[in-house]
Amino acid sequence: MNLTQTTSATRHPELPRVPVRRVLAKYGIYIAFAVLFAILSFSSPSFLSVQNILNVLRQTSLNGIIAVGMTFVIITGGIDLSVGAIVAVAAVLATSYAHPGAYPIVVPVLMGLVFGALAGFINGFTIAKGNIAPFIVTLGMMTIVRGTALVYTGGRPIIGLTDQYKWIGGGYWLGIPAPVYFFLLAVLIGHFLLAYTKFGRHVYAIGGNEQAARVSGVKVHRIIIAVYTLAGLFAGFAGVVLSSRVMTGSPVAGLGYELDAIAAVVIGGTSLSGGVGSIPGTIVGALIIGFMSNGLDLLNVSSYYQQIVKGMIIIVAVLVDQKNKQVK
């Protein structure tokens, strides 16, 4: 829809062309989301119910939390393929400490967070110090971590969790699902770090021009390590939330989650070549994916077709983004 609006603007010479395009370039993704939301509201009566919206938000939370971490990684010009596997290892580690009568609730949660962060740290350290492509390092880490989860559990899911633990993913507060609050927390932390701190500035500087950043005294290695650690931490947290939600610590959880996270980040306008992007964009990217599949569910479109649609959205979003950039 971005495209059609742009072309209609060019057909009317009296319209101020550049501002319209600039607005589209900057806010196109938000407009796209609003239009999608409007269309779904009209086409399915049950879409706009509070219950349904909360449902979608809860489903989106997991991908959203992972995508916040992924946004940092992609802005540095990197990629993290290991987050889905980290979800699984965090899930099984956390749940194995969450049996009734064993440990206080903080122990399993910390387990998930610490191991997620540790895996991320190893990613970052190897990428920065070993000077190896992030794709390769995180691809290897994906397999290593997945294998670790399988070894740790012997391939069997972990069940029998405390009610407290189950609340993290399944509970409600003030009528809103708990994961939504955690998503919100992740977003606030992520946005704060990226937009308001020196660390965030350095993340953009590295992605925009790593050499120039180095000449300007940015400690490139340290920032890279921090970014992957952060991505691991968020993925570990998502693993805790997921295992709680499904009341199981499964070593095969989170399969393909890395791709959903990357999709959300990219749809949200973050450039895979680095240097450009934002957390608000990523939120909208995740919401577009969430609401789109929910809407298609409600419209009785089979999940097979949904995959096709999702793929097309990713490509179109990037295509429109490219076109908009050329306008400048």
């Binding site: 701190t197 020196k198 500035r201 500087a205 925009g208 021009n209 120039a212 950043a213 180095r214 000449v215």
Partner: protein, 511 residues
């Protein structure tokens, strides 16, 4: 061609007439002519930025001339792209060679024109290999065509490029600084090949800074200066002193805003600095308020020297003292901590984050000063940036404007503004006015003078002699990594500097 000869004209293989070319803000070529005779080696010489490369790029169709005409084999031609030039028989061997390393010699030679069997497009390897061996034999080399190019050294890759030119039936081969990366014996070999080529009636345009080589290999020398044609002489009739005056003999106008500043104590003392084979045993001092110019031709090691000072390259030997204290500058961070600033030669590579805003670029080095517990104080940052934009007259519609969309001069001012914010004691400016228009140049010159008046010590690298001479208190000249000359401001003289820069003369002067 025959007709032309009969008509009594000299049978030039190539004639370029009145070639004019301008880029935004820069007149690169003004009505330049060049005539190359068949079977000759025609040298093209001039300072950096004299227009040699631009002229050659016009010839092979990488640039379109604004005016002028090209005659090849006596016929007027319009060359629109390098492919067209190659079909006509003009081939250029670039300074930076880029073969495909994973492919064999034969495969590289045939890229894009692989011979195939009639059916299915299967590549005829044996034919490829046979032709390759044949072509190499023509220049007296015996090679295995199935050797991977990755295994070849620079000299061998250059031979490969030459053979590629021959294989395309090129009659005119342009060599851009062919000896910049090869050594004595390989140079001899290259010259042997060039002589073989000319004996077969092929012509060579030979671009080089190395005057000794020109006298060894060329038949005719054409000199360009500031985009203008200065003259063409047979090499045998041109002595070195005359050649140098042709290269530099311009009027030095006193357009530079240089002011005399009382010099303070020595800030920087470099002794015996070496960096692999790029920088050889360089020693100098720099005083507060002084502008020390560093002159030299391309590849003289100037950039390598300042990058070593800034910790971007590892010094292999030598000591650096700042305010009398020996320091180790192993990284940009260490250099910044010792109050050094580097406005680098390549602002797109080392200077700017083109994808980010003016504000974020300006405050990047110094960000910690505008932070409270790691959080950027945005109001403070904006006011600091606004002050820099005003001070350096950066033309931008907002602090949020993306650096990529600024003009070259304004980009350079952003880089300077960024470094001045760190309040450095020593400022290294590497080609600060390259590629920017005249007005922006003058502004940057004024900024440099103002900084010197504030008591900053400045190292100014420039390939433009007038800039060096107009701005510096003292000038160092480098040639192939060595210090070959030192001049006080009152002794500056273009020809003497050029003699040192080309390694014809050594001169040291105690200040």
């Amino acid at each position: 061609m025959v007709e032309a000869a009969v008509a009594g004209n000299e049978p030039f293989l190539l004639e370029m007439r009145d070639i004019t070319k301008s880029f935004p803000g820069v007149q690169a070529l003004r009505s330049v002519g060049l005539k190359v005779a068949k079977g000759s080696v025609h040298a093209l010489i001039g300072e950096n930025g004299a227009g040699k490369s631009t002229l050659m790029k016009v010839l092979i169709g990488m640039y379109r001339a604004d005016a002028g005409e090209i005659l090849f084999r006596g016929r007027k031609v319009a060359i629109l792209d390098p492919g067209e030039a190659l079909r006509l028989g003009i081939s250029m061997i670039h300074q930076e060679l880029n073969p495909i390393p994973g492919m064999t010699i034969a495969e590289n030679l045939f890229v894009g024109r692989e011979p195939t069997f009639p059916l299915l497009g299967v590549v005829n390897r044996s034919l490829m290999n046979r032709n390759t061996v044949q072509w190499f034999k023509e220049i007296g080399l015996d090679i295995d065509p199935t050797t991977k190019v990755a295994a070849l050294n620079v000299a061998e890759r250059q031979m490969l490029e030459i053979v590629k030119a021959i294989s395309c039936n090129a009659d005119l081969i342009i060599m851009d600084e062919p000896t910049s990366a090869i050594t004595g014996r390989e140079v001899e070999k290259l010259f042997g090949i060039i002589r073989t080529l000319t004996a077969k009636g092929k012509s060579v345009i030979y671009i080089s800074h190395k005057i000794d080589e020109l006298y060894q290999i060329s038949d005719v020398i054409t000199v360009l200066r500031d985009g203008q044609y200065i003259g063409t002489r047979p090499t045998a009739e041109l002595d070195r002193q005359t050649l140098i005056s042709m290269m530099v003999g311009r009027e030095i106008s006193n357009l530079f805003p240089k002011e005399d500043v009382a010099l303070g104590p020595v800030v920087l003392e470099v002794q015996g600095l070496c960096q692999s084979d790029k920088v050889k045993d360089i020693s100098f001092t720099l005083r507060q308020g002084e502008i020390l110019g560093i002159s030299g031709l391309m590849g003289a090691g100037r950039t390598e020297m300042v990058e070593t000072l800034f910790g971007l390259r590892k010094a292999s030997r030598g000591t650096i003292r700042i305010h009398g204290e020996a320091v180790k500058l192993g990284s940009p961070n260490a250099a910044i901590a010792h109050r050094l600033a580097l406005v680098s030669e390549d602002r797109k590579l080392y200077g700017l984050n083109l994808k980010d805003s003016v504000k974020n670029n300006v405050t990047l080095v110094n960000l910690a000063q505008y932070c409270l517990g790691g959080i950027v104080r945005q109001g403070l940052e904006k006011s600091v940036c606004a002050a820099q934009i005003e001070r350096f007259n950066i033309r931008t519609y907002s602090q949020a404007q993306i650096a990529n969309t600024l003009s070259g001069g304004n980009q350079q001012k952003v880089v300077i503004a960024k470094w001045i914010l760190t309040d450095p004691d020593i400022i290294i400016l590497d080609e600060p006015t390259r590629g920017i228009d005249v007005a922006a140049k003058a502004e940057i010159h004024r900024i440099i003078v103002a900084l010197a008046k504030e008591g900053k010590a400045i190292l100014l690298i420039s390939s433009e002699l007038p800039e060096i001479m107009g701005m510096s208190d003292r000038v160092l000249v480098l040639h192939e990594g060595r210090l070959t000359g030192e001049f006080a401001r009152e002794d500056l003289d273009q020809e003497s500097i050029m003699m040192c820069a080309t390694g014809q003369e050594q001169r040291s002067q105690v200040q």
